[in-house]
Structures are given as C-alpha cells and as structure tokens.
C-alpha cells in the first residue's frame, strides 16, 4: 500500500465516522403561546387537548342546557324570580378508558368545575370541602350512592354549611376498533348527575372518534371522502 492510498483510506475512514458522529449542533428548546384561533396539536398516540377540550365543552353544555330549562320558574305575582342555584358536588373524573390520562385528569376536573361555577345554574361545592368530607367519612366516591353513605356524606357537608342537592360524576370511556395497522378509538365523556333526595339521575355525554395510523397513507385509505361516497 503506498502512502497516498493509506492516507486516503485512513482519512476517509476517520472522516466518515467522525461525520456520522459529529453532525449537528446542540440546539435549544423553544416555546410559544398558542393563540385562541389556532388548532390544538393532535396527539399521535393518545388523546390530548384536541379530544378532551371539546368533549368537556359539549357534555357540560348539554347538561346545563337541560337543567337550566327545568329550574326556570315564573311566579304569578308578575315579577320573574329565578330560583336559587342548587348545590352540586362534583365528585370526580373516573378514567375507564384504555389510555392513561396523566396530567389531564385534574385539568378535566377543573374545566368542568369552572364551567359549572360560571353557568350559575348550579352552586358547586368546593373540591377541598368534598375531599375533607370524604376523608372524614372514609367513604369511597363510588360508595356514595348507597343511601346510608349518601346521608352521612351530605350530613358532613351540611355541618360545613354546604347543603347537598346533587352529586355529579364524570366518566371517560373508550372503545377501540382495530383494522390492520389502523385503529379507530371512540372517546366518550359521560356526566351523570344524581339527585340526593330522590335518587333520580340525569346523564349527558359527548363523543369524539379519532383514527391512529402507522403510516400517513392509513388515514387516506380508511377515511378518504371517496370511500364514503361509494
């Protein structure tokens, strides 16, 4: 092997390997504020803001719409008098879907709670009071529907000056349909409101379906407009 051959061999070996190792400079992470009109990021592997935000808005709007009509009363004296808002204890969000909610669970709770407070249709009981009542009674949220437990729980809240009219449960469920490398997942948020006195309950839900594909072509293959026409 002559000198030039050896040098080019070693040089190209070292150069090629170093290039492979060295490409790229250390970058920085950037953040930006997403403006009101801009769409949410669509989660590639699981549901995110694009699913939960509209689900919460729709389900709560439906619940408020129905209950707003029911409790609007007019007196015969002529002057319209709105009834006092009924107190409601939003017990929590139960995740029965296939996915981890992670940090979204408390976000969903706060979103629903805030919408209830803003609506003025109900008077929500503070979460801190509810947590304190659960701690004092040592009751599980799912055990509150047993009449004796409900009375005990309502009693503790009343002692704190919070009469209880309704219990509200939110449940997130999912259903997954798999076709080869594509999946369709239907997310359902159900709000279940129970009248503490009568045991009667109302239920509203909102649903969003999402497709997950291993390839970009997956979306086109399963959800293209031409397919729906045929």
């Amino acid at each position: 092997m002559d000198r030039r051959t050896f040098l080019s061999f070693v040089g190209s070996l070292a150069g090629a390997t170093c290039t492979g190792l060295l490409v790229g400079c250390r970058g920085h992470q950037f953040g930006h504020v997403i403006q009101g009109g801009q769409p949410d990021l669509v989660g590639s592997h699981a549901a995110g803001a694009e699913v939960f935000n509209p689900l919460v808005e729709e389900a709560v709007a439906k619940l408020l719409e129905r209950n707003c009509v029911v409790y609007q009363e007019v007196t015969y004296q002529g002057a319209e008098e709105l009834p006092a808002p009924r107190s409601i204890c939003f017990v929590g969000v139960e995740n029965k879907s296939i996915e981890e909610l992670g940090d979204f669970k408390d976000q969903i709770y706060q979103q629903i709670d805030t919408l209830l407070v803003q609506s003025q249709v109900f008077q929500p009981i503070s979460r801190r009071m509810m947590d304190a009542a659960l701690r004092e009674t040592r009751l599980r949220p799912d055990a509150l529907l047993i009449p004796e437990n409900m009375r005990m729980f309502a009693g503790v809240l009343e002692q704190q000056g919070q009469p209880l009219h309704f219990l509200l449960y939110a449940t997130i469920t999912s259903g997954t349909t798999v076709r080869n490398a594509s999946e369709q997942r239907d997310y359902l948020l159900t709000l279940e409101m129970i009248n503490v006195q009568t045991g009667a309950y109302d239920k509203q839900s909102a649903e969003i379906s999402k497709g997950y594909h291993k390839t970009r072509a997956g979306k086109f293959l399963h959800y293209n407009p031409l397919k729906s026409l045929s």
Partner: protein, 448 residues
C-alpha cells in the same frame, strides 16, 4: 533539505508539547471525586457538601455530575427543598446536553470523552426524576405527582430514540419503572377521591414488578377498600439501601489487541510507522459494590410492623442500560484512536520524517497522546443500589419508630429511632439512607 529538517523538528517539538499538556489532565473523575464520597459515607455531610461545592467551582465541566451527589447530601441532610432545586437544574442541563455538539465532539476525538458536556447516562436522567419526586414528597408534595409522571415519560422517550435493530434489547433496558406508578398511587389514594387512579397505578406496579409483594395488597385496597380506617393515618418508609452503581475506568483489551494487530499490518505495508497501540483503550464500566443490607425492619412502639421491599432496583437499571450503551462508548474510543493515528501519520508525511529518529519521535508523541486518554467516569456516585419502601397503617398520634437494618447475613443490627407524628387520614413519609449497616444522614420526615 536543511529547511525540511527544521520543519520536522519544529513539528515534533510542537506535538511533544501538546502531548505534555494533554497528559496533565488525564486523571479520572472517579479519582478526583473520591474524597467527597468518602466524607459522605463517613456521615460527614457538611464536609462532603463543602468538598462537592469546591469541586464544582474548580471543574465546571463535571459540575452536573457532582451536583447530583450534592443533591443526595442536601436531601439526607434534611434539606429536601434545596435538593429538589439542585436536581431540577441538573435535569434540565442533562436534557439540553443530550443533543451532540459538533465542536465538543470534535475536541473529544482529539482528547477523550471527558471533554464532552456531561449529558448523564440514561438511567441517571430517569433517576433524577425519581429523586425529584422523593425530594418533593419530603418537602411540600405539590409537584411530586408531576415528577412521578415524568419518570416513565422519560423512559418512553429514551426507548423511542433507540435504533430499530436494538429495540428488543432496549425494551427491557428502558422498561417502565414501577416506582413511578407506585408514587402516583400513593399520592392519589391519599386524596380519598381518586381510587380509580390509585387502582390503575397499583395495577401497573403489580404488572411491572411482580416481585413487589405489597403491590397486590395495595391494589386490592385501592379497588375496594379505603386509604385508612377512621382515626388512622399511614406511614411510608422509603429507604435508600446499599451503595449504588458508579463508573470505573476499565481496559478494553479485545479492541486494543485488534487495533494493535491492525496498525502493525498497516506499518508493514506503509512508508512510515503507524503509531503502535501500546496504550490500552479505556472505557467506563458500571461497577456495583456488593450488597450489605437486605431490608429495613420497621419497629413502631416496640412492635415489628413491617419490612421494606425493593420498589426500584437502581443497580439493575444501570447494568441493563449499560449493555446498550457500552458498544457505543467502545466504538467512540476506537474511532478516536484511528483519528489520532491518522493525524500522526499525516504529520510524518507532511514533515517527511524519513530519518529514523524523527519517525520514532513522532511515534513516541503518538503513543503519549493516546496514553493521555482517560475514560469518562463522570456519574452519579452517591446513588443507592435499591430504593425500598414499606407502608404501615397506624393510629393517629405520636409514635416511636425504629429502623433496623437487616444485613445480608440475616442479622439485624441497631438503627436510628425517631418520633413520628401520624395525622388522621393522611400520609407521613420517612426517608432514610443505609449505604451499609450504618445510616448516613438524618431520617427525613414529612406529613402530607
């Protein structure tokens, strides 16, 4: 001719100087940080903290590795808020340095991996989040759940970065850690309103770490029981047990021998000698000291109430991930050698070192240059080998709690005793460190 000789001598002198300069810094991190570690293990936390702070000021390139040790000292010295702050800074730096930098990588090819900004091993990036969760739990608990969610998010991110051909091996190395859902389960259960989360979390613990005996009981309680009986609270004892993994410099003999044969073959067929591979290739290997403590026995008011179990095997995590990372470290070391040999050969060619003494002198410089390399042994050296935990339900009020280490020889020895306040319906957390039979630092306590 006269001019060529002069050039040759100048080049030789320059390279000699370079070699001498580089030699000056060839000690390893493990050797430099040892005095601080010794202070820690002798339970002199103040001195250890001072030494670490001084070291960080003197060696800014090693500051993040030393800061992880400092965080351990702060945590066990009863300053969890400071430990959290230190670890938060380290976590962010390690994440930023994960991306390679071209200039640093180039410099490391001329010297060694110690010139790279310390990005931490993958297990350290994950464990930084584990200790952030623990430190926060022992401070105000506000962010502990967020940190617990970040633990497995990081593991998943690391798994995604792995090349396709390594996926099978990496799936084991970057398997989710049971301590993350365990901490989340503990926190969610104590809210009394999120048993579904706790149940899901404990279900993951049972699936991911079937050997954790208490997991089944935790799951059953979250599914159909309550956090604690009326008038009772819960004590969680977290124990950092045994000395954990650290990195030590080792000689990579097979690669060294292969390279020596290769350069001898090239020398025989080339005009000049290729620098002989006399200096062995050095790579960092994870070293785990032997176990001394099996578990801690928790004695409350003179009654044995439980024994800690491993929820996170730090050593196993480090060793699993090393299997994936070691070939890359060896490859980098071999490439570095090739670059250095090529540089020396190119110099011989440029200065036309045809005289035997010049060829020999340049080869000697090459050998010295290669010998200056040291393995990058920067690491989180004060990690425990295992993180263990036990849950004890106790009546509300003040209790005398003793932590007795059970040695591997099945002999139980005396341990620290503290007074613990249990609040009705709340969690109380204790953290103790037993790198050996004797505890180091304080037993930290906080009620949720």
């Amino acid at each position: 001719m006269e001019h060529a000789n002069l050039t040759s001598r100048l080049a030789c002198a320059g390279l000699c100087l370079l070699g001498i300069l580089a030699t000056a810094g060839c000690s390893t991190y493990a050797q430099r940080i040892r005095p601080a570690h010794e202070q820690f293990y002798q339970d002199r936390l103040d001195t250890a903290a001072e030494e670490l702070a001084t070291y960080m000021a003197r060696h800014p390139g090693d500051a993040d590795a030393a800061a992880m040790d400092l965080a351990m000292v702060q945590l066990l010295d009863g300053r969890p808020a400071e430990a959290e702050q230190t670890l938060r800074g380290v976590r962010d730096n390690l994440d930023a340095y994960e991306q390679a930098d071209a200039v640093e990588s180039g410099l490391s090819m001329l010297t060694d991996d110690q010139r790279l900004a310390y990005a931490g091993e993958n297990y350290e990036r994950v464990l930084a989040r584990v200790f952030l969760a623990l430190a926060n739990l022992l401070h105000d608990g506000q962010d502990a759940e967020a940190y617990s969610l970040q633990i497995n998010a990081k593991q998943a991110e690391l798994l995604q970065q792995v090349e396709d051909e390594e996926k099978e091996q990496a799936a084991v190395a970057y398997a989710p850690l049971a301590i993350a859902p365990y901490l989340r389960g503990v926190i969610r259960e104590a809210t009394f309103a999120n048993y579904d989360d706790a149940s899901r979390a404990y279900h993951q613990v049972v699936s991911w770490q079937p050997g954790f005996q208490a997991g089944a009981e935790d799951l059953a309680r979250a599914q159909s029981g309550v956090h604690s009986r009326p008038g009772h609270g819960v004590l969680y004892v977290f124990a950092l047990v045994n000395r954990g993994p650290s990195k030590q410099e080792t000689l990579e003999i097979p690669s060294t021998a292969a390279l020596l044969i290769a350069d001898r073959i090239l020398s025989a067929t080339s005009r000049y000698d290729v620098t002989p591979t006399l200096a062995p290739i050095k790579v960092p290997r994870v070293f785990v000291p032997p176990r001394e403590v099996d578990a801690l026995t928790v004695v409350v008011d003179n009654q044995t109430r439980g024994r800690t179990e491993t929820i996170c095997d730090v050593a196993e995590l480090a060793l699993r991930q090393e299997e994936i990372e070691l070939p890359k470290a060896v490859a980098r070391a071999v490439v570095r050698r090739a670059v250095k040999k090529a540089a020396i050969y190119a110099t011989k060619n440029v200065v036309e070192a045809s005289e035997p003494w010049a060829d020999l002198a340049l080869s000697a410089v090459g050998v010295a240059w290669e010998a200056t390399e040291a393995a990058d042994t920067r690491c989180w050296g004060l990690l425990p080998r295992e993180i263990q935990v036990v849950r004890v339900e106790l009546p509300a009020g003040r209790h005398d709690v003793q932590l007795l280490p059970l040695l591997t020889s099945r002999v139980s020895v005396a341990g620290p005793s503290i007074s613990v306040d249990i609040a009705d319906g709340r969690n109380t957390y204790l953290l103790a460190c037993f790198p050996g039979p004797r505890a180091v630092g304080q037993v930290i306590q906080r009620t949720q």
